[in-house]
């Protein structure tokens, strides 16, 4: 083979490789565009949105996930590419829009039903600045009123409830002049505007502050209505009374008192127990589980709280092992948790989504798992697992009772609250227009290492065996052998040790500060006295 032939051969191989490489890149790019899910709603925010805006959008996504909606979300310049794949688009509190976005939105607004989209376009604009810009840009400046005031008074009535009022703040307020639908009132400078209004394909909510619980609840209710394709209101979901985060070492007497109260009032309830991993046969645990069995047989149901995550990089296998251990301990005592309660940010992380996928029913608590690092994502991936969601209620007043029936909500009751306060909350829940329901009325299921549970039509099947849910009292040994050594005693739960330590540290700190001040005082006093 001569030299020129060799070079030619190398050139051919190189060209072939480059060709394959470019084809694979093109394919990858195309497939990523194709992979964009055709969800129910596309939510977009400004490209330069601050962390608060992103957090508000995350909150919105979370609350819409409870309604089993498939959401895609991201910045405006990212989302404008995918608009045509969605029939419902939310522009959340835009402060500015990328070049060409407004034209693109106008084009979307005026488009008819196209292939790949099931319905005509719906646009919801939350906030005022962008509505004004959009209408100005599309020659509809005469279709809105601008009120130059930063404060307004909001009045909103949830289904059948009294008007809830509160102050709202925006840079200024814009209201559509004409509307085919209107709900709620925002009074600005003695002029009456709406909380939500619809004109053609445009729907507008002037206030965007998701940290305000009244606005938060009202926005979710309006989005649910906006998304509802039929006349009338969307389905009504129930609320559940949830005795939250009950630890086995807490007073079983008080728990029994609460259970008896709910039993007497014929009110369904849920107890969320904290997981235990060892010493499941201790007398205190036996006693605790006896109360839980009584609750199970008296209209209450038990769910399990996820193990408290203390791993800087969460190991899902470890977490699942702990869950399996905890389930085994409770099951041995005749307690059958039906669902899993998790911190609210678990739905945004791949590993926690996988952990949750082991359970059919998920209760989301108001807590945040601080060890989880936020992942950049553009959709609520958890949607695909088809969970039955119970979100925490949005507390508009001090009772924490739910004013929303657009998704299932849990009204948390803490064991630390006074009994009178608990009684009051139960009463408010009973009187609420949102119906109370028992989670025994729905199907549940989970699978863990060696456990497969399904609950359907009143039968709880655990590992192919039907479980007895009637109450049987516990039998206690006369003298229980604790088998404790010193390390086990201390390791049982460092929480109580930590509390003692905090007290000791506090006391020592005060003493030290006193001693330091005294020494400084003495030093100053003797400063000029030398040998």
């Amino acid at each position: 083979m001569n030299c020129s032939m060799m070079y030619k051969k190398i050139l051919y191989y190189l060209s072939g490789f480059l060709l394959l490489f470019s084809v694979s890149i093109i394919r990858a790019t195309t497939s990523s565009a194709e992979e964009m899910p055709k969800g129910d709603i596309l939510i977009m925010y400004s490209d330069n949105a601050d962390e608060n805006t992103k957090a508000a959008v995350n909150d919105l996504v979370e609350l819409l996930t409870y309604q089993s909606l498939k959401i895609s979300y991201g910045s405006a310049s990212w989302g404008m590419e995918y608009m045509d794949q969605f029939s419902y688009i939310i522009c959340y509190d835009f402060k500015q829009s990328p070049v060409g976005f407004t034209d693109r939105l106008k084009q979307y607004e005026t488009s008819s039903t196209i292939a790949g989209r099931t319905g005509s376009p719906h646009i919801l604009l939350i906030g005022n600045e962008y509505l004004k810009n959009y209408l100005d840009h599309t020659n509809r400046s005469d279709q809105y009123d601008l009120l130059n005031s930063t404060v307004g008074q909001m009045q909103y009535s949830f289904q059948g409830s009294d008007n809830k009022t509160g102050l709202v703040r925006e840079n200024y307020f814009v209201f559509l002049k004409k509307s085919s639908y209107k709900n709620g009132i925002i009074m600005v400078n003695d002029k009456s505007g709406y909380f939500c209004a619809k004109n053609g394909r445009l729907t507008h909510i002037p206030v965007a502050d998701m940290s305000n619980q009244l606005i938060r609840a009202a926005i979710i209710k309006e989005i649910s209505q906006w998304k509802w394709p039929y006349n009338g209101s969307p389905h009504v979901f129930a609320q559940y009374i949830l005795i939250d985060k009950v630890y086995p070492y807490e007073d079983p007497g008080k728990l029994l008192q609460i259970v008896n109260l709910l039993k007497e009032k014929k009110t369904p309830f849920v107890i969320s127990v904290m997981p235990m991993y060892v010493n499941g046969d201790y007398p205190s645990m036996t006693h605790f589980c006896e109360v839980l069995r009584f609750a199970q047989a008296s209209g209450g149901a038990v769910i399990i709280n996820a193990p408290i995550n203390q791993m800087n990089r969460l190991d899902k296998d470890v977490m699942l092992d702990y869950l399996a251990q905890a389930m085994t301990i409770y099951n041995k005592q005749g307690v059958y948790p039906l669902a899993l309660e998790v911190p609210r940010n678990w739905m945004f992380q791949k590993d926690t989504i996988e952990i949750m996928s082991h359970f059919k029913t998920i209760f989301s608590s108001g807590e945040i798992d601080s060890y989880l690092k936020p992942e950049d994502r553009n959709n609520n991936e958890v949607y695909k697992d088809g969970h039955q969601w119970v979100g925490t209620s949005i507390p508009i007043d001090d009772t924490g009772v739910s004013y929303l029936s657009v998704y299932s909500t849990a009204v948390p009751i803490s064991m630390q609250e006074d009994f009178e306060e608990i009684e009051r909350k139960v009463k408010v829940c009973q009187d609420s227009f949102v119906p109370l329901k028992s989670i025994w009325d729905v199907d549940h299921g989970y699978w863990l290492d060696k456990q497969l549970m399904s609950y359907k039509d009143g039968d709880l099947i655990l590992n192919d065996k039907k479980m007895d849910l009637s109450f049987t009292p516990s039998v206690y040994p006369d003298r229980y052998q604790y088998r404790r050594n010193m390390i086990q005693r201390f390791s049982r739960d460092l929480t109580s040790q930590s509390r003692r330590l905090i007290i000791a540290v506090g006391f020592t700190s005060v003493l030290f500060l006193f001693l330091i001040f005294w020494a400084r005082y003495r030093n100053r006093k003797n400063y000029f006295f030398h040998d």
């Binding site: 203390q310 791993m311 390390i487 460092l494 020592t508 030290f512 030093n523 040998d531």
Partner: protein, 432 residues
């Protein structure tokens, strides 16, 4: 409960246990020192005994002049003390420097012993034993060659020693002369105040227990004679002699008014060598005295043995374990899964550590300031970690020496020429 949980429990309890032990000692030390500062430290006696001030020196010409000047300025009766300098196999011009000092001060009783490598160069204990053979005092005072004691120091120490027959030795306080020289010497300054002065004071307050610090102390001559001199195998001859004194039924007293200013290592390499020598020495003493921890006849000294064991074994291991757990957590190799375990435990420990040092600084003039508090915080993540390395190195070297039966060598700390410090109006005040 996983293995990592057991380790976490051990380190939590070890660190918190030792932290609270130190807090208790600091409170005792605070009460003792504040009480002592109400007096001037003197206990006048009718007759001052003859004192031999012994200064072991090996290649110390840089610092000797300053030291000798300070020793000759003692307000102790001039005819009642002598200074013996053991110029121990020096290769620098120490002999010449000492000769000049001797010639310029004919009124002072200065004895210079120049040893060669046949009899000398075998460490501090050997040098002290040589000096002892020529000492005429009934009380022996020891000063390192880099010390500048304050003029009243010797008198205070001797007066206190003679005031109680059961006192075998009296020790003073040492301060850092070159604390502004480098960041390292600033750390050493804080360490000296917190973990040597305050700790000594606390142990003395509660148990009448002290450890001789190697310099700025006086001891009865007859006790040294009865012991057969200093143990030449001990690198920490001071700790060794303290244990022996307690076993003989005597005790040691700490007097904070007797102050000496000492030059501390300015560079990391010298500091590391010096501290490794201390660790090796203390571990040798611990090894040879550990049997007394369980011997009731050993008396109160048992507590000191246990204290050393706690510091060197428990603290060292718990710090290493806690660091390992931290690193494993970061790398995702293992996690503590104990209920209630949180970073608050470490944060509170750090807070208490800083507060504990702050209380020590507060009793000293010109030491309680923002810089030192900040340095204390920084110390925890730098100096304390270096201490772990020093102990690890000391243990490894100790094991290696034992395996290869290496002769104990006194690795002398290198001295530095000192640049005169910035004189601020607050520096070097003397306690009343």
């Amino acid at each position: 409960m996983s293995f990592i949980d057991v380790l976490a429990i051990y380190s939590i309890f070890a660190i918190w246990g030792l932290l609270f032990l130190n807090i208790v000692l600091s409170i005792g030390g605070y009460i003792y020192i504040m009480g002592m500062y109400r007096t001037d430290g003197h206990k006048p006696i009718s007759e001052y005994p003859m004192v031999t001030v012994m200064v072991p020196a090996h290649n110390e010409s840089i610092v000797l002049r300053k030291t000798m000047e300070a020793l000759m300025k003692f307000d102790y009766p001039k005819d009642r003390y002598e200074i013996i300098v053991i110029n121990d196999n020096s290769t620098d011009d120490s002999a010449q420097v000492l000769k000049t000092i001797q010639q310029k001060n004919p009124s002072a009783k200065i004895i210079i012993i120049n040893t060669n490598r046949v009899v000398g160069g075998k460490g501090k204990s050997n040098a002290l034993n040589i000096a002892l053979s020529m000492a005429s005092g009934s009380v022996i005072a020891i000063y390192d060659a880099d010390n500048t004691p304050e003029k009243q120091a010797l008198k205070i120490l001797v007066e206190n020693l003679m005031s109680d027959d059961k006192l075998g030795a009296v020790i003073g306080k040492f301060r850092t002369r070159n604390k502004y020289a480098s960041l390292l010497t600033r750390f050493v300054n804080i360490e000296t105040l917190a973990y040597q002065c305050m700790n000594q004071a606390g142990r003395y307050f509660f148990f009448k227990l002290c450890t001789i610090p190697g310099t700025n102390y006086v001891i009865r001559r007859e006790l040294i004679d009865r012991m057969g001199g200093w143990d030449v195998n001990a690198l920490a001859e001071d700790t060794e002699i303290s244990f022996r004194l307690y076993r003989m039924g005597y005790y040691i007293k700490f007097i904070p008014q007797a102050v000496t200013w000492e030059q501390e290592p300015q560079k990391l390499k010298q500091w590391f060598k010096q501290r490794t020598r201390w660790v090796k020495g203390n571990l040798y003493v611990l090894k040879s005295n550990f049997k007394y921890a369980f011997d009731p006849a050993a008396g109160i000294m048992r507590l000191d043995v246990i204290y050393y064991a706690l510091v060197y074994l428990m603290m060292f291991s718990s710090l290493i374990i806690s660091d390992l757990i931290f690193i494993m957590g970061i790398l995702g190799l293992g996690h503590v899964t104990l209920g209630g375990f949180s970073s608050l435990l470490w944060e509170m420990a750090i807070f208490l550590f800083v507060l504990n040092v702050a209380i020590t600084l507060s009793v000293e003039r010109n030491e309680f300031n923002f810089n030192n508090i900040l340095l204390t915080f920084v110390m925890l993540f730098t100096y304390a970690k270096m201490w772990v390395l020093v102990v690890a190195n000391g243990i490894i070297q100790g094991i290696r020496d034992a395996l290869y039966q290496k002769e104990v060598v006194w690795d002398k700390t290198e001295r530095f020429e000192e640049i005169p410090e910035k004189v601020t109006k607050n520096t070097k005040q003397v306690w009343k």
